[in-house]
């Protein structure tokens, strides 16, 4: 079992002929992801890694019936691409693009929700169900199928933790990168609920960072709705206030959003919080023992 994506997923790639889009389409196809079509306006008739390209999402939907879309288009055009995917009837959209203005994402989020769809990201690495579907930019080979559900606001830091888990013999049901922006489609609580309901997931690893209150919301959710053990790691204990640490959403503002608050909130509801990424596997093993 897994959450959100598996071998039956039919993936559409928006921005498939771009540099990022074509490279990662090849990588995803190579991993075994069921990529059914791609979209680039004016690209109809082409193919990338054997995947047929269409001019519009509507045409791609009519010809190939995708049920998940991944977006690799530049920030200025990404909101439009999300709207096109939603209007095309695609229920789950993954947006990799970094640098989308917050003002554009506020209406996008509302539109996605009002259409009953789900958005992952933006500014995220995507998600992977090891051995079944890689929908994103993560290195596939570090993942192994197993009982751990992983959710994170980060990219390479997620790979770091996944790598440590895999080396320790702890494979993953699904690893989900929710993204580092202030407005994201899917929050920790949404993914926690999915892992809680997934019978194959035995423990949950949650990787947070400074900024916002998503981790605090997650802590409240864990207390009320999560019976499975949760292990956390929060990046940015040494980050100064008022400075954006790379991710648009990673900023301590007005004294809130510090790592210390997030660690305290998670520990208060019984989650084990690692002080370094390499400590995560042992805490998971202890939680499962």
């Amino acid at each position: 079992m897994s959450i959100l994506v598996d071998r039956h997923t039919r993936l559409l790639v928006q921005g498939i002929t771009g540099r990022e889009g074509s490279f990662h389409t090849e990588q995803m196809v190579e991993y075994g992801t069921n990529v059914v079509s791609g979209v680039t306006p004016g690209g109809s008739g082409k193919a990338v890694a054997g995947v047929p390209v269409f001019d519009t999402v509507a045409a791609a939907v009519a010809a190939t019936q995708p049920n998940v879309s991944i977006i690799y288009v530049p920030a200025r055009f990404a909101p439009d691409a999300i709207y096109e995917a939603i209007d095309g009837g695609i229920p789950f959209v993954v947006c990799i693009t970094e640098g989308i203005p917050v003002a554009d994402m506020v209406p996008v989020y509302a539109y996605v929700r009002s259409n009953g769809a789900r958005l992952l990201g933006p500014n995220c690495p995507g998600l992977i169900t090891p051995g079944q579907a890689k929908i994103g930019i993560m290195p596939g080979f570090i993942h192994e199928p197993g009982p751990i559900g992983l959710v994170s606001r980060s990219g390479t830091l997620t790979y770091e933790v996944v790598d440590a888990l895999t080396r320790a013999g702890l494979g993953q049901t699904t690893a989900v990168g929710i993204g580092g922006d202030p407005v994201i489609g899917t929050a920790f609580v949404d993914v926690l609920a999915l892992f809680e309901a997934d019978p194959a997931t035995e423990a949950i690893v949650m990787i947070g960072e400074i900024g916002g209150s998503d981790e605090e919301d997650a802590a409240r959710f864990i207390q009320e709705h999560v019976s499975k053990p949760v292990v956390g790691f929060i990046a940015g204990r040494t980050a100064p206030p008022g400075k954006r640490m790379g991710h648009a959403g990673a900023i301590i503002s007005g004294g809130t959003g510090t790592a210390a608050e997030k660690v305290a909130a998670l520990e208060a509801v019984g989650a084990r919080v690692a002080d370094r990424p390499s400590a995560v596997p042992d805490l998971v093993k202890a939680a499962l023992a």
């Binding site: 990588q27 920030a75 200025r76 640098g99 989308i100 203005p101 917050v102 003002a103 554009d104 994402m105 506020v106 209406p107 989020y109 509302a110 539109y111 930019i137 993560m138 290195p139 080979f141 570090i142 994170s152 606001r153 980060s154 990219g155 390479t156 830091l157 997620t158 790979y159 770091e160 790598d163 580092g180 202030p182 407005v183 990787i207 960072e209 916002g212 209150s213 998503d214 919301d217 790691f233 990046a235 940015g236 204990r237 040494t238 980050a239 100064p240 400075k243 954006r244 640490m245 790379g246 991710h247 959403g249 990673a250 007005g254 004294g255 790592a259 002080d275 370094r276 990424p277 390499s278």
Partner: protein
């Protein structure tokens, strides 16, 4: 991106908000002239223009009644160091007869993914303190993500503040204009604190603050032009031009990392091993030779740096390619402090051999790298 109070006030004035109009001075004599121009013989406030709060407590705001007092106030404030910000300009505005003070602001409510108008009858004080200690004193109105803030919502906030009915219309008008300015300018914060009622019953914005979404600056060249280079770290500006995220910190261990989350975790690891990071630096996912070379230049520009930790999780990028990038970069940039490289991912072992051959300390794990670099800095 942040701007000065006077710049925020000019922007809000353009959106129709009544602001206390004055002028900016860079010398005491200029301050005297500005005071005469905007206040005649009346009293003025002389206010430090720096990108930080706490100006009042730091002696950065003074009331002056005569030209001599204006000269003395400006002389005392110009050159002042407020929380590490050197005061190079003062704003001189007419002193105002204040009847009541309010707080009014628009920000993003992150958990709800909507913009929110916030107001409080406790104006002119630290609003974060009010939010912490007396949260019931802050009144909020969530803006519809598609339709924006409705006039009735602004009126509701006005009534909730306890304003007399005759003043609610004026308040609502300013609240709606502030919301419009926030949206039109792609702001991340638009704030008037205090917004005052004068003795004559007029509304006036006495102090304005705005911050802007860096990701939206491409469509606001006029905002970008307001950037005060003197308020920003030169290395951070240089980094941005190369697509590198860099934040200067106070320690002595330079960090070069691919990915923002991993970069934060790397700083934390340095601290955990008894060191202090000199910077946050995210070279981006691929860690190409050019980017790494630029990163070396940025990090070594800080004279405090006594050792450098490079932490690259290779992933799809091959470790040997990253290693070649690092050694190539060292061919173009001279680095005299010890360098510890942590390299992981595909072909990481080959990469580490290449690095070791080039005289660098190459290790397998983040913990080991952090321990080594802290030792190297001693």
């Amino acid at each position: 991106m942040n701007v000065h109070e006077y710049q925020a006030a000019e922007l809000l004035a353009r959106h129709g908000i009544p602001v206390n109009t004055g002028g900016v001075a860079t010398t005491p004599e200029e301050a005297v002239a500005v005071a005469a121009e905007h206040a005649g013989a009346g009293a003025v406030a002389v206010k430090a223009q720096v990108h930080t709060g706490g100006r009042g407590k730091a002696g950065g705001i003074k009331l002056a009644r005569t030209p001599d007092e204006v000269r003395a106030a400006a002389a005392a404030i110009l050159g002042l160091d407020i929380r590490g910000h050197l005061v190079q300009r003062v704003l001189v505005v007419p002193a105002v007869d204040i009847d009541r003070e309010f707080y009014l602001g628009v920000v993003l409510d992150r958990p709800r993914r909507r913009n929110v108008l916030m107001a409080s009858a406790e104006g002119g004080v630290d609003i974060e303190e009010v939010a912490r200690e007396r949260p019931e004193q802050i009144i909020r109105a969530l803006a519809d993500p598609l339709l924006g803030l409705h006039p009735y919502q602004a009126r509701e906030v006005g009534f909730a503040l306890g304003l007399p009915a005759a003043r609610v219309g004026g308040f609502a008008s300013i609240a709606l204009k502030l919301y419009a300015a926030y949206v039109a300018e792609d702001a991340t914060l638009a704030e008037i604190n205090p917004l005052i009622l004068t003795g004559d019953g007029d509304w006036l914005a006495l102090d304005s603050k705005m911050s802007f979404d860096d990701n939206a600056l491409f469509r606001h060249p006029d905002t970008e032009a307001l950037r005060d280079m003197a308020e920003e770290n030169a290395t951070e500006i240089e980094a941005r031009a190369h697509g590198i995220s860099f934040v200067k910190l106070d320690g002595d261990i330079g960090c070069i990392v691919n990915g923002a989350g991993l970069a934060m975790a790397t700083m934390d690891a340095v601290k955990l091993h008894g060191g202090e990071p000199a910077n946050f630096l995210d070279v981006g996912g691929g860690a190409s030779a050019d980017q790494v070379a630029t990163a070396f230049e940025l990090v070594t520009a800080d004279p405090n740096v006594r050792a450098i930790l490079i932490n690259i999780f290779g992933g799809i990028t091959r470790g040997d390619v990253v290693a070649e990038g690092i050694t190539d970069a060292l061919g173009t940039v001279s680095v005299t402090v010890p360098i510890v490289v942590r390299l992981s991912g595909t072909n990481a072992e080959e990469g580490r051999l290449l690095l070791a051959a080039a005289g660098l300390i190459a290790v397998d794990t983040m913990d080991e790298a952090a321990a080594q670099v802290v030792r190297g800095a001693r």
